[in-house]
């Protein structure tokens, strides 16, 4: 029996310490023990499963945060077992755990692995202690390298690392060194993001005061270009704007977002997208862990901001999400899904972008031109 494909995202909103640039839903105050929080996740999984009328199968599951590696392996096991019981994980389901250095030992890694996680994504961010301190990270370079070793020894053969460039006082040469170091570690997956200063973070305050010496736009662009050049040179496939993978090791979970496949989010502030009618509906959970808990304890789902998408929304998303994947979108498939009529104006815009050299078309495949990867937002905005 095959069910509807729905991926699961589970959010753990606590960290040892909040990084200075971070505006994710995370906090250093841990008012819940990991076991208490895992219990809430279990309860939410149960509550949500009762609302689904059709059988489900789960191709990917992702524990994000925050720092979900602060959970005990037994908590993780309990949540994964519950999900499997209620939603049925596919036999080859990808189950990712985000982990931060300083929270991962060989024992814990082994524990997470036997709890069911088969992919680990480690937030290394930088390979210089000076930069790590500047970011407000809790760990050193040594601990980051140890975390990678621990994951490997613990049995993870699918390992990703996260890096950030365009950091304050970071030079192009330093970033290139970081990329070479990353390649030497030979992870299966590398995410390399440019730092964005988000409103409300300590970094935003520093920037306003002129105390955040970020690289100039041109240097930031060079870092972007160096990333693609060095990592593809090291055998990684540049498959998404900021993501690189060994062949066959792309993050299947993240691709769910870009392809507008369904996912359900669990935990405080988690986001969901359920596409049952071709257009889909988005919503999220209350971001505060306390509100999240209170809703669940009253037997209510902590959801809010439920937005059913219009045809225009769905079309726009198909482009600005789908084009994040460098393989691009299949306009033939889109025509089949949405109808050639509604698609036509979007294809006109695409044509304009092709003429400006920002998009490429190859049969039914529409994708970012190599030089436009770094200008993706300019392209995406055209589809809104």
């Amino acid at each position: 029996m095959t069910g509807m494909h729905i991926s699961l995202y589970l959010h753990y909103p606590f960290c040892v310490q909040k990084c200075l640039y971070c505006d994710f839903n995370s906090r250093a105050e841990r008012r819940f023990s990991p076991a208490e929080y895992a219990e809430l996740l279990v309860r939410e999984l149960e509550a949500v499963s009762r609302t689904l009328s059709r059988p489900v199968q789960v191709p990917t599951m992702y524990f994000g945060g925050g720092t979900p590696s602060l959970m005990e392996p037994s908590d993780l096991a309990r949540v994964i077992e519950t999900a499997d019981r209620l939603f049925r994980l596919e036999p080859d389901a990808e189950i990712t755990l985000e982990a931060n250095p300083g929270t991962l030992s060989v024992d814990r890694a082994r524990g997470f692995r036997s709890a069911g996680a088969n992919r680990i994504s480690i937030g290394i961010q930088a390979f210089e202690n000076r930069l790590l301190a500047r970011l407000g990270r809790i760990h050193s370079v040594r601990e980051a390298l140890d975390a990678v070793d621990a994951a490997r020894c613990g049995g993870f053969d699918n390992l990703g690392i996260d890096l950030i460039h365009s950091l304050p006082e970071q030079s192009l040469a330093q970033w290139e060194t970081a990329l070479r170091t990353a390649a030497v570690l030979a992870p299966e997956h590398i995410s390399a993001y440019a730092l964005t200063v988000e409103e409300g973070t300590p970094f935003a305050a520093l920037e306003r005061r002129g105390e955040l010496p970020l690289p100039e736009e041109d240097e930031g662009a060079q870092m972007f270009e160096a990333t693609a050049r060095l990592l593809t040179g090291a055998g990684y496939e540049h498959y998404e704007i900021s993501n690189f993978a060994r062949p066959g090791r792309q993050s299947r979970h993240n691709s769910v977002y870009w392809r507008r496949a369904s996912y359900l989010g669990f935990g405080a502030g988690a986001h969901s997208f359920l596409n049952t009618d071709g257009l889909g509906e988005r919503w999220s959970n209350a971001p505060s862990p306390e509100q999240y808990r209170d809703a669940l304890s009253q037997g209510i789902l902590p959801t809010r901001d439920r937005i059913p998408l219009t045809l225009e929304d769905a079309l726009a998303e198909s482009f600005f999400l789908g084009l994040r994947l460098l393989a691009g979108v299949d306009v033939g498939e889109l025509a089949g899904r949405f109808g050639a009529g509604p698609l036509a104006p979007y294809l006109d815009r695409a044509q304009g972008l092709i003429e400006r050299g920002l998009l490429e078309r190859d049969g039914d495949r529409l994708r970012l031109a190599p030089k436009a990867v770094i200008l993706a937002n300019t392209v995406f905005a055209e589809f809104l």
């Binding site: 972007f224 986001h271 809104l384």
Partner: protein, 599 residues
């Protein structure tokens, strides 16, 4: 009611010194406004009206007062807030009065803004008496403030009323002072009708409503009247007073103040300062002081979204209904498309209209830098008046150009005099006089070219004096000047909306500053952008905006697509607010860069 029992007065006050509250107390005390309506804040309501009205509208209200002498009086409050742009209108309203209350905050003292209006009142021979308001405040210093009033304005303050409008202190004293100090009007009800039109506005149901002060004669409903400036005649369909709502009366006689509705279609036909008389028994001649007000400051208004052109045209027509001093005519710009060249009395007037268009009519506009009217004498002997740099004839056809000069009176605390002098000199001013009103207050009088004043003079004045200066000005004359046209080119194309007429000595500096400011304001785009300043064909400055290198927000977390979309939408919204010049997108601010350049 005999003429001896009428008192026509206005309240002169700096903003925030309590005029509205005093007016409320007077209305309440005389029973004009019931306690029930108390929260309405009558003048505040009028302030709101005024904010909506383009010219600052005069308002009147009739109060019936039984005075201590046992007699009944009619007190007409004519509210005339003033600003430098509306000096003429204010002066006409003051002419309708015999007396004025000068309201001064007992802790703040005389403020610069008050002065010009007090002088206007004194010029109009009004009997002015002083009310010190807010005397209940701990910071009140009535003695110091009285001394200041005597020194600066020269008014006798020994019997100034001490009041607190908030606490209701002094209300009766003010009413008694009005009866005692303000002279009754002088006029003869038997003479032919002679009435001063001191304001008019358009009402969508009743047409134009005019406010009049009857000088001589009597006006009855149904009579044929004539406006003396344009000889147009109408029937007085309704006459009445505001008490405080519109109330019809059978007649308005010499000394009285009221409204007339006469089927006037266009507010431009009911000009402030005009004389109203009977068609068949006209008076001997018009009242003195009438003049046509003409726009002094011009700027181009363009919709950012070209589809809003019709909406802008309709909005301008609506505003014009109520404001004959404002003018507009279609204008086309290569850079900005279809828009309007609009004329204003001054900078405040311009700001009010722009704000109303954006706020009330939901229009998004690009405003070009304000200019003045130049007189261009051509080699063929003719003279043309131009309101924009683009109307300037080719250099070869120009004999010489004249520009308007104003006489500016700047009132400041003495510590700022140095800064003011430097500013006026920089603005090509010619010093007339520096008057010490008191040891600490100075009046600096300069002859200034208006084109320098409309650019950034106010802002500079404010920042130099921390807001403590007031500026009053009048048009002086036209003077021959070395004026040139400064062009801004984007990727080699002249952006007509950015061209300006400027004194030759300033052109180089302004040109350089302007392109460097533009460089800051124009965001990077897909290609390199050259910004040049040129006099004629001679390029005098250049800057380059490098091509956009990076526009990617990589981070997306936990499937929060909604947020990602919002970010993209914000970016797109920003783009929509840009104007395409060739293939370059210019932000609105770029068109006002000239105002941000110092010097």
């Amino acid at each position: 009611m005999t003429i001896d029992h009428i008192r026509n007065f206005s309240i002169i006050a700096h903003i925030d010194h309590g005029k509205s509250t005093i007016a409320d107390r007077l209305l309440e005390f005389t029973g004009t406004l019931s306690q029930r309506d108390k929260q309405d804040q009558f003048l505040d309501k009028m302030d709101l009206e005024r904010e909506r009205g383009i010219t600052i509208k005069a308002q009147t209200v009739r109060l019936n007062y039984h005075a201590d002498d046992g007699k009944d009086y009619v007190l007409n409050l004519i509210d005339t807030p003033g600003h430098v742009d509306f000096t003429y209108e204010v002066s006409r309203s003051l002419t309708a009065c015999e007396g004025g209350l000068l309201v001064v905050d007992a802790s703040q003292g005389v403020e610069a803004q008050t002065l010009a209006n007090v002088y206007l009142a004194l010029d109009a021979n009004l009997e002015v008496f002083v009310v010190l308001n807010k005397i209940d405040l701990p910071a009140a210093e009535p003695e110091r403030v009285k001394r200041e009033i005597e020194e600066i304005i020269g008014l006798d303050t020994h019997d100034a009323v001490l009041a607190s409008a908030k606490e209701g202190i002094g209300t009766k004293e003010i009413l008694e002072e009005i009866v005692k100090k303000v002279p009754p009007p002088v006029g003869d009800a038997a003479k032919p009708l002679k009435a001063l039109l001191f304001d008019s506005w358009y009402d969508q149901y009743q047409g134009v409503i005019i406010l009049v002060r009857i000088i001589d004669g009597t006006l009855k409903k149904g009579e044929k009247i004539q406006l003396m400036s344009n000889k147009r005649s109408y029937e007085a369909l309704k006459v009445g007073v505001f008490a405080p709502d519109m109330r019809e009366v059978a007649t308005l006689s010499a000394g009285e103040v009221g409204f007339v509705i006469a089927g006037i279609k266009d507010v431009a036909d009911a000009k402030v300062g005009d004389t109203v008389t009977h068609l068949h028994r006209p008076c001997d001649g018009p009242l003195p002081g009438y003049k046509e007000v003409k726009p002094m400051v011009f700027s181009g208004l363009y919709p950012i979204d070209t589809s809003q052109y019709e909406a802008l045209r309709d909005a301008l027509a609506k505003l014009k209904l109520n404001d004959s001093s404002f003018s507009y005519e279609p204008e086309t710009s290569l850079a900005l498309g279809f828009g309007f060249r609009c004329g204003f009395l001054g900078l405040l007037h311009m700001e009010i209209i722009q704000e109303r268009l954006e706020r009330e009519f939901n229009l998004e506009l690009i405003t070009t830098a304000p200019t003045v009217v130049y007189k261009v004498h051509q080699t063929n002997g003719t003279m043309v008046q131009i309101e924009s740099a683009n109307q300037l004839p080719p250099t070869g056809e120009i004999a010489y150009v004249e520009e308007p000069f104003i006489l500016a009176s700047i009132h400041v605390p003495n510590e700022f005099v140095g800064g003011i002098l430097a500013l006026c000199e920089e603005k090509r001013g010619v010093q007339r006089e520096i008057k010490y009103l008191t040891p600490t207050r100075v009046m600096v009088i300069y002859e200034l070219p208006l084109n320098e004043v409309v650019l950034d003079f106010y802002d500079r004045l404010k920042s130099i004096t921390k807001g403590y200066a007031s500026l009053d000005y009048e048009l002086l004359d036209y003077r021959q000047s070395e004026l040139v046209r400064l062009n801004i080119m984007i990727n080699g194309e002249v952006v007509d909306a950015l061209s300006l007429i400027i004194h030759r000595d300033k052109a180089y500096y302004r040109g350089r500053e302007l392109v460097s400011k533009m460089k800051e304001l124009i965001p990077r785009q897909m290609f390199e952008i050259a910004i040049q300043a040129a006099i004629g064909t001679k390029v005098i400055a250049r800057e380059t905006v490098k091509a956009l290198r990076k526009d990617v927000l990589a981070k997306c977390y936990g499937g929060d697509i909604t947020r990602k979309r919002k970010l993209l939408e914000k970016q797109k919204e920003g783009k929509k607010r840009m104007k395409n010049v060739g293939n370059v997108e210019l932000p609105q601010e770029a068109f006002l860069a000239i105002l941000k350049v110092e010097g």
